[in-house]
Symmetry: C2
Subunit: 234 residues, 2 copies
Amino acid sequence: MTLRIAEIFGPTIQGEGALIGQPTVFIRAGGCDYRCSWCDSMHAVDSRFRHEWLPIQADQIMAEVEHLSGHQPLMVSISGGNPAIQDFTPVIALGKARGYRFACETQGSVARDWFSDLALLVLSPKPPSSGQVVDWTAFDACISAAKGAETVMKIVIFDQRDLDWARDTAARYPDLPLYLQPGNSETDPSKPVDPQHLADRMLWLVDQTVGQGWLRPRILPQLHVLIWGNKRGV
Amino acid sequence: MTLRIAEIFGPTIQGEGALIGQPTVFIRAGGCDYRCSWCDSMHAVDSRFRHEWLPIQADQIMAEVEHLSGHQPLMVSISGGNPAIQDFTPVIALGKARGYRFACETQGSVARDWFSDLALLVLSPKPPSSGQVVDWTAFDACISAAKGAETVMKIVIFDQRDLDWARDTAARYPDLPLYLQPGNSETDPSKPVDPQHLADRMLWLVDQTVGQGWLRPRILPQLHVLIWGNKRGV
């Protein structure tokens, strides 16, 4: 059985969310059931890029992860696209046997048994600005599938409407640790990123949450965008 | 009994280390046994500013924290200066009774029984560029004093010599979670901070650690400097 993989890269630091700053190798799965208006990984989503998604066996994937990490076990992040549309059971089993730990980031539209093998499941329900509509029954099934695995929720915020939506969503899941991050409206990898603009977006989001007395979410930027812009493979 | 407090401010987000992004009220203690060459909080260190350090009772401190947080329990960070030269036992006891949790950041030169009452003890041994010399016996006493409290190590890195020192220090404490952050060489609150420069310092530090196969430390910037520059009270 093969998986469609858009890229495997690292080790670099995790740029966002609960594991921010942590040395990580990334496995980016090809294919997605969503089409977010502001998607920053269209090369792993749009079927136009399908010829770039190599069909690759689980043992070949782990061989590449081990090669990149110099055989030092570390955190492996499975992202996409939506990695949950494929079966990562064998990759995780091989990796865990060698001391690697796995995190997965998914929107929460497809539940998988292998979520329970993760060290961390990051569920990122997409806010209204994405143009997508969340299926909450599927989302709840993802939480159930994680069983004992640590599960957190991360929501990208582009505007006030997204923020209002995030508050409603947070209220629905009072027990999930919550991370918010300002959306990145510049997704063209050839264009430079303005660090001051990223700082301004963070300031706005902190003002609109902590500054308004909403003290639950942790507010974090996308460090990789600050450091490397929208370049791929870092 | 009163404590000398340079400032109490927030809620804002924790800008660095293990709790990065977390809504926090800060209690900055006045007074320090160190004089780091690049200290970014001289207003809480240099005795020139001593007249600004209000002698204040524990219940008044907690009253101010509760006022600032709108009586919503949250994380309180005790920093300085070196807060360990004073006795925060009564502040922490009052706060914990009301649901607040406490983190403390100290260089590890003075051990205190109240470390064991913390949710998180951040030990920041100062590298060679600081001009200070670490007393490792005192540092070990801090780790012992924390008992069950979660303890992490954070080291600020200005140059290659600091980084070599951090690797040796990390090897001495294999069980402490480790955070590295690039040093901020511009500490004048009236001067603007260049976000691109901060991004470049992060890139250097990631290259010199993860890029060289050192996969243990988490690498994080000072978000508050990115967002607010060197302004006080944010």
